[in-house]
C-alpha cells in the first residue's frame, strides 16, 4: 500500500473541523455520562431548584395575600393588583439568581481541567499529533464540558416556567433570563478553557478562572461603585447633575444583566429596580403620564417639577411621593433592555476571542496550522507517494 492509498481523502476544512469536534465530544461525553453520577447530580439540581421555588411560594404567598387584601402597610397605598403575580415574581427572581450562581460555579469546574488535565495525564501530545485541528479540539472540549451545564439549564426550564402559572413574569422575561444564563454559562466555561490551555496545572487554572469570574461580577461592580463615589461628589460637578463611572465597566457583568432581567419583572419599585436605576446612573425613576421608567443620566429635574406641572392628580401624588421617598407604585411594568443585550454581545465577543486564543495556545509553537491549507508540492524531486514503497 502506498501512502496515497493510506491517507484518507482530503476533506473540506469545515468538515474536518466538525468531525474533530464530534470526535472529541463523543469521547468526552462517553466518559462523562458514564455511570450514575451525571444522573444523580442532575436530579439533585432539579430537586434543589424545585425546593427553592416552593420555598419562595411558602414565604411570599401569605404576605402577598395580605397585601392584596389590606394594602401595603409601608407606603400606605398600593394594594397589589395580583397576589399571584407577586409569588411568580419572587420565584422568578430567586431562580434567576440561583441559576446564575450555579452556572458560575459549575461551568468552570468542567472546563478548567479540559486541556490542562490532558497535559497532566500526558495524553495531550498524542492528541495534538493527530491531524485534528486545534480549533476542533478546543471547541469539542468546550461543547462537551458545557453539554452538562446546558442540560442542567434546559432541564430547569420547566421549573422556570412555573412562573407562567403564577404570573409576574412573561414568556419574554423567561427568554431574557435564558439568554443571560446561557451566555454566562458559555462565557464562564470559555474562561475556564482558556486558563486550561494557558496554564500547565489544573489547580492554578481553576483558581485563576474563579478569580476572573469574581472580578467580572463583583469586582467590576465594586470598582464602578468606588469610581462613581469619587466622581459624583467631585468639585465642579453641576448641581443636580448625576455622574457615574463609565458604564462600559458593567457591560461584561452577568450579575448586572440578571439584575436588569429580574428588575423588569418587579411589580413594584423593588430592590432590583432600585439597583438597576442606580447602575444606569439615573435618578431612581422618571414618571410620565402614570408610567415610571428608569431614566438616562440627565439633569436632576424631576423633584423640582411644580406640583401642578403635570396633569392628573394621581401623577402628581406619585411624583410627590417620589420626591420624598422613592418608593412609588410603578403602575405599569416598564421593560429595560439596556444592560442584558450589551452583556450578551460583549460576553459572546469575549468568549469567541478566548476560544481563538486557546486554539492558538494548543497549536505547537512555530508550526503554522492554517485553517485552510494550500496544497504544497513535497520538497524533493519526486512526489511523496512515489517515495514510499509498497
Amino acid at each position: 500500500m502506498t501512502s496515497v492509498a493510506v491517507a484518507p481523502p482530503r476533506r473540506s476544512a469545515l468538515r474536518e473541523f466538525t468531525s474533530s469536534v464530534s470526535t472529541i465530544m463523543a469521547k468526552e461525553l462517553r466518559s462523562r455520562f458514564r455511570g450514575r453520577r451525571a444522573f444523580g447530580v442532575l436530579t439533585l439540581y432539579l430537586a434543589v431548584l424545585a425546593a427553592i421555588a416552593y420555598g419562595a411560594y411558602v414565604v411570599v404567598g401569605p404576605d402577598a395575600r395580605n397585601q392584596a387584601a389590606l394594602g401595603n402597610p409601608f407606603d400606605g397605598s398600593g394594594n397589589l393588583p395580583n397576589a399571584s403575580a407577586t409569588v411568580g415574581q419572587a420565584i422568578f427572581a430567586l431562580l434567576s439568581v440561583f441559576q446564575l450562581l450555579l452556572a458560575s460555579l459549575i461551568a468552570p469546574a468542567f472546563t478548567a481541567g479540559a486541556i490542562s488535565l490532558e497535559r497532566e495525564k500526558q495524553t495531550l501530545d498524542m492528541l495534538v499529533s493527530t491531524p485534528m485541528r486545534p480549533g476542533g479540539i478546543v471547541v469539542g472540549k468546550l461543547l462537551s464540558a458545557l453539554a452538562f451545564v446546558v442540560l442542567m439549564i434546559v432541564a430547569a426550564i420547566p421549573i422556570s416556567a412555573l412562573v407562567l402559572m403564577y404570573g409576574g413574569a412573561k414568556v419574554d422575561d423567561i427568554l431574557r433570563q435564558q439568554v443571560v444564563l446561557f451566555t454566562s454559562a458559555i462565557g464562564f466555561g470559555v474562561i475556564g478553557l482558556f486558563y486550561s490551555a494557558l496554564i500547565k496545572r489544573t489547580q492554578t487554572a481553576t483558581v485563576l478562572t474563579y478569580t476572573t469570574i469574581l472580578v467580572l461580577t463583583l469586582g467590576s461592580l465594586l470598582v464602578w461603585r468606588f469610581w462613581t463615589a469619587t466622581v459624583e461628589n467631585a468639585p465642579g460637578a453641576g448641581i443636580g447633575e448625576v455622574r457615574t463611572a463609565p458604564e462600559l465597566l458593567l457591560y461584561p457583568n452577568p450579575a448586572v444583566a440578571m439584575i436588569e432581567v429580574v428588575a423588569n419583572t418587579e411589580l413594584e419599585y423593588g430592590d432590583f429596580s432600585d439597583a438597576l436605576t442606580r447602575l444606569r446612573g439615573g435618578l431612581p425613576l422618571t414618571c410620565d403620564g402614570g408610567v415610571c421608567f428608569p431614566s438616562e443620566p440627565q439633569p436632576f429635574e424631576v423633584p423640582f417639577v411644580p406640583q401642578g406641572g403635570l396633569e392628573g392628580d394621581a401623577v402628581n401624588t406619585r411624583i410627590g411621593q417620589f420626591a420624598v421617598a422613592p418608593q412609588p407604585n410603578r403602575g405599569l411594568i416598564i421593560v429595560s433592555d439596556h444592560f442584558w443585550p450589551r452583556f450578551t454581545i460583549s460576553f459572546w465577543a469575549l468568549s469567541i476571542l478566548l476560544v481563538l486564543v486557546s486554539m492558538r495556545l494548543l497549536a505547537p509553537a512555530g508550526l503554522r496550522l492554517p485553517f485552510r491549507r494550500r496544497p504544497r508540492p513535497p520538497v524533493g524531486a519526486e512526489p511523496a507517494a512515489d517515495e514510499v514503497p509498497a
Binding site: T130, G366, L369, P378, E387, V388
Partner: protein, 319 residues
C-alpha cells in the same frame, strides 16, 4: 529511492540552550532505526520535531518527503507517534480508545471496527477488547498505546522509548511486536538509552550525544568500524617485558598496559587498530617470536562498549 526521514542540519534551541545541534539523519524506508544516546542527548527533541510537535530552530526535516514545518498535517497523516511519557484515557474501554484515535485520524466508520480487531490482534489484546483501559497492566497499556499509533496505517512509526519502564518479559513482547510491524513494511524510528535493547532489534542505529550525531549507519558497519580500534587482552606465561617491547615495535599497537602477574600469568591490555585478520596475524607473529600466549581475546565490544567509546562516558551517568 528517497529516504523516509531526512534531516539536514537540524537545530533546536530552548532558551538559548542547544538541545539539538545540527543533526543530519537519514532513514531509509523499511528500516528499524534506533536512536541511542544518554538522557538529555536530544533524542526526544529530534523525535518531537519529526512528530510535528516542535518546530526546529534551524535546519530542515523531511518526513516522507514533506517538510514538517510547511505541512505538519500531511506529515501527521503518515506517521504514528508514541511519546516517551504518555498517559491513556483510563475511563474508556480498550476498543473505545482505539475507536477514538481512529476517528481522530479520520478513519472511515465502516473500517474502524475491523481495524480495531486487527490491531488488538497484533498487540495481543484481543481478549481485552471491552476491558477498561485503567484495568490494564502497564505493559498492556504500552501495547495499547503502540496500537494507537497504527490506527491510520502509517508508513512511519516514531516511538520514543517504547520499552521504558517495562519488565523484561514485556520488553520482549514489545520487541516482537516491532519486529512484526517491520515485517509488515513499516519503517520504525525508535529511541532508547539502553543499547543492547536496540542492538537486537534495529537494522541501523544513530548514536547521539549533546545534540550531535556521533555515529550513524547500519549496525554491522558501526560495530566493524569501532572494532577496528579495539582493546586486546593477552595473557602471557613468558616474560612480559620482552613481549611488551616486542609489541611496541609492531604497527597499530598503542600503549601496552601490564597487569600484575598472578601465578605466572601476566595480562597485557593494548589498544589495537586492525580487524580480525590483523588480530590473527598479530597472534601468529607473537607466537613465532617465542612468546608463550595462554589467552588472546578482544575485550567484549558489544553495543554498550561502542556507546562508551563514542560518547566517552557511561550511558547512565551522562545527562
Amino acid at each position: 529511492m528517497a529516504p523516509i526521514i531526512e534531516t539536514r542540519g537540524l537545530v533546536k534551541r530552548y532558551d538559548g540552550e542547544l538541545a539539538v545541534a545540527g543533526i543530519d539523519l537519514v532513514v531509509e524506508a523499511g528500516e528499524i532505526y534506533g536512536l541511542v544516546g544518554p538522557n538529555g542527548a536530544g533524542k526526544t527533541t529530534t523525535m518531537r520535531i519529526m512528530a510535528t510537535l516542535l518546530a526546529p530552530t534551524a535546519g530542515e526535516a523531511l518526513v516522507c518527503g514533506i517538510d514538517v514545518t510547511a505541512d505538519p498535517v500531511a506529515v501527521r497523516r503518515r506517521i504514528g507517534f508514541m511519546p516517551d511519557f504518555y498517559g491513556v484515557y483510563d475511563d474508556l474501554r480498550v476498543w473505545e480508545y482505539l475507536d477514538f484515535f481512529g476517528r481522530c485520524y479520520g478513519v472511515q466508520p465502516s473500517r474502524r471496527a475491523a481495524m480495531i480487531g486487527e490491531l488488538l490482534e497484533i498487540v495481543g489484546l484481543a481478549d481485552r477488547r471491552d476491558a477498561y483501559v485503567s484495568a490494564l497492566s502497564r505493559g498492556m497499556q504500552q501495547r495499547l498505546c503502540l496500537a494507537h499509533t497504527l490506527v491510520h496505517d502509517p508508513d512511519l512509526l516514531i516511538l520514543d522509548e517504547p520499552a521504558s519502564g517495562l519488565d523484561p518479559r514485556a520488553r520482549v513482547e514489545v520487541r516482537e511486536i516491532l519486529r512484526a510491524l517491520s515485517g509488515m513494511g513499516k519503517t520504525i524510528l525508535v529511541s532508547s538509552h539502553i543499547l543492547p535493547e536496540l542492538g537486537e532489534l534495529c537494522t541501523s542505529i544513530g548514536i547521539i550525544d549533546h545534540g550531535r550525531m556521533l555515529r550513524s549507519g547500519r549496525i554491522e558497519e558501526i560495530e566493524r568500524s569501532l572494532r577496528a580500534s579495539s582493546l586486546l587482552r593477552i595473557d602471557l606465561l613468558s616474560d612480559p617485558r620482552a613481549a611488551t617491547a616486542w609489541l611496541a615495535s609492531r604497527s597499530g599497537v598503542g600503549d601496552v598496559i601490564e597487569g600484575e602477574p598472578i601465578g605466572g600469568l601476566t595480562r597485557l591490555e593494548l589498544p589495537f587498530d586492525g580487524d580480525a585478520t590483523e588480530q590473527a596475524e598479530l597472534l601468529r607473529a607473537m607466537l613465532e617470536a617465542g612468546h608463550v600466549v595462554a589467552g588472546f581475546s578482544q575485550a567484549t565490544s558489544d553495543l554498550e562498549e561502542i556507546f562508551l567509546q563514542v560518547t566517552g562516558q557511561p550511558a547512565e551517568d551522562a545527562a
